[in-house]
Symmetry: C2
Subunit: 307 residues, 2 copies
C-alpha cells in the first residue's frame, strides 16, 4: 500500500480508525482461551492459537468499519516463536481482508541491522535461492533517536514498494515530556524529530500531498497536536492514546486537515477489551468490539468530516 491507499481506504469507509491488536491472555474472552487450551494444552502454542482466533475474529467483524490495523509486536514476541508465527499469520489474514497493516515495534537500529530488519519487515528474506515473505506489513513505527542512519535503510521500500514508516514524535504517555519536550533553541525535541521526518520524506510525497514517512503523535496532548498539524501539514499522523489512555474525539480532531485527511486514530484496549466493561465472560466480545468501534467512529465524526 502507500499513504495514498491508506487515505483512500479511510475515505471510503469514512472511518479514520486503526484498531490496535495487542493480545495478552488476561484480556482474552474465556471461551477462546478454554478452547485453545483444550486443543493445544496450556502451552505457548495454545496461547498463540488463542491470540490468532481472537485477532482474526475481530478482523472479520471489524473490516466493514475499520480500514487499518496495528500489530503490537512485543505482545507476540512475548510468546516466543509461537507468537511470531501467529503474528505473521494474522498480518497475512488482515492483508487479505484489505486492511492496511502497521507493525508497531518502535525500534531503532542502525546500519546493517536496520537493513536486515527493513528487509524482513517490508521485503523478503533470501535463504539460498528461495525468498521468504515473513511479515508483509504496510507500515512500521520507528524510533528516530538514532537519526538518519536508522531510517535510511527503510526509505527504498517507502520509495519503491509503497511502504510507510511512522516516526515517533510525541507519544501519548504522561512522561513523554521528559525527553520529547526538551527545549532546544526555537524547537523542542519532538519538532526537531518532525523536521527530520520531513527531510527523510522530502522526495516521497503521495498524490494527496502527504509523505510516505509519517509520524506518531499521541491523542493526549491536543495543543501539541494542533501545533504539529499546522506546522507539519505534509506528515500523516498515526494517533494513539484514544480511549483507554484518555484521548477524546474532541482532542484528536486537531490531527486532521480541513478535508478530514492526514490522520488515523488508533485504539486498542477500548475496542478489543470492550467486552470487559460488560461484566460477562466475553462470549459477546465481537458485538462489544463492533459497538465500541462504531461509537468511536461516530464520536470522531462529530468533529471530523472526511471529504
Amino acid at each position: 500500500m502507500s499513504i495514498d491507499v491508506l487515505q483512500e481506504r479511510i475515505r471510503k469507509l469514512k472511518s479514520p480508525i486503526m484498531v490496535g491488536l495487542d493480545p495478552y491472555l488476561p484480556i482474552l474472552p474465556r471461551h477462546i482461551v478454554r478452547d485453545a487450551f483444550d486443543e493445544y494444552g496450556q502451552t505457548l502454542r495454545g496461547a498463540a492459537e488463542a491470540y490468532y482466533r481472537f485477532c482474526t475474529e475481530l478482523l472479520d467483524r471489524l473490516s466493514p468499519i475499520v480500514p487499518a490495523v496495528k500489530l503490537q509486536s512485543a505482545c507476540f514476541e512475548a510468546l516466543g516463536a509461537d507468537g511470531i508465527n501467529q503474528m505473521q499469520r494474522i498480518s497475512k489474514y488482515a492483508k487479505e481482508l484489505g486492511y492496511y497493516v502497521l507493525m508497531d515495534s518502535m525500534r531503532g537500529d542502525v546500519g546493517s541491522v536496520a537493513e536486515i530488519y527493513a528487509q524482513a519487515v517490508f521485503g523478503s528474506v533470501s535463504v539460498g535461492e528461495t525468498a521468504y515473505q515473513l511479515y508483509d506489513c504496510d507500515g512500521l513505527t520507528v524510533n528516530g533517536y538514532l537519526g538518519s542512519d536508522g531510517i535510511k535503510p527503510f526509505l527504498p521500500y517507502c520509495k519503491h514498494d509503497g511502504k510507510n514508516v511512522f516516526i515517533l514524535l510525541k507519544t501519548s504517555n504522561k512522561s513523554s515530556r521528559e525527553v520529547q519536550d526538551l527545549l532546544s533553541g526555537d524547537r523542542v525535541v519532538y519538532t526537531a524529530m518532525a523536521d527530520l521526518a520531513m527531510r527523510w520524506g522530502s522526495d516521497l510525497f503521495g498524490k494527496n500531498g502527504y509523505s510516505e514517512i509519517g509520524a506518531v503523535v499521541g491523542a493526549t496532548f491536543p495543543q501539541t497536536m494542533k501545533l504539529l498539524r499546522e506546522k507539519y501539514d505534509r506528515l500523516f499522523f498515526v494517533v494513539p492514546g484514544y480511549g483507554a489512555q484518555g484521548g477524546t474525539a474532541k482532542n484528536v480532531q486537531f490531527a486532521f486537515d480541513r478535508f478530514g485527511h492526514g490522520a488515523i486514530v488508533s485504539a486498542s484496549r477500548s475496542i478489543i477489551c470492550a467486552w470487559q466493561k460488560d461484566g460477562g465472560d466475553g462470549e459477546n466480545y465481537l458485538d462489544c468490539a463492533e459497538e465500541a468501534a462504531l461509537k468511536m467512529k461516530a464520536d470522531i465524526g462529530k468533529y471530523v468530516v472526511i471529504l
Copy 2:
C-alpha cells in the same frame, strides 16, 4: 546476574569485551551454511540452524576470553519464528557457559506493552498454570525516548532479580548527533537522558558503586565519552562501535574509571567476521575470531588496566 556480577566476570577474565552476535547468512562461513542446508534445506529453519551452530561454536571458543555476549534480536526476528527459537537456544547456551547475556532490541514501549515485554525478556510468561522462561537474558538495551513510563516496568526485575537495563545515550553512528546532540539549556539530549538513567537507578546501586541501570555510549566519540564518564560516574557503560565502526582502543579508554571498571566494549563484525579478512571460505573462522578477540583484549589492555 547483576552489574556486580558482570564487573566481577570482566575482572576475573581481565577482559572488558562483549561479543555481539548478529548473524546474517552472507557473513556465515560457507561450510556452516552448506551443512545446514544439506540437513534442513534452503529454508528459514535451515538458516536458523546455521545461526545456532555459528553462534554456539563461537561461544564455546570464546568463553575463556570473553565474559559477555550481546544478541542482536532484529537479526533473529528477521528469520521469523525459526530465528526466535534459535535466539532462545543460543541465549540459554551462553548462560550455561557462564556468559552475561545482553539482549539488544533497542525498543521503547510503554505501559502494559512494556510490562508484557519485560516479563518475557526477564521473567517468565504464564500460560494457565505453567510458567515459561523464554529469553532469560541478564540485560536489555532500551530506548528511553518515551521517558519513565517506558522504563518503570523493567525496574522491579533490576531491583529484585539482578537484571540490567542499558539506556541509549549516545550511539556510535555518525547521525546520532541529529537528535542526541541537540542542546537544551546547559544539557544536550544525551546528558538529559543520562540524568534520567541516574534517576531510574537511584536506589539500585551495586556494591561496586555502579547502578543496575546502565547506558549505551558509542566508541566513536571519545570526547563525549570522557565527559560522560566524568559526570556520570555511577553509570556502567556498554560501548558499541569498536572495530568495524571505527572505535579504537585509544578511544574507548575513556569509558573506564581509574580502576579499569565501569564499562564493557562491544564488538561484533570485527570478531565474528574476522575470517573474511583472511581471504578463505571460513573453515578457520573460530581461529580468526579468537585471534581478533585476543588482539582486541591486548589493544584495550594497553590503555586500560583492570584492578
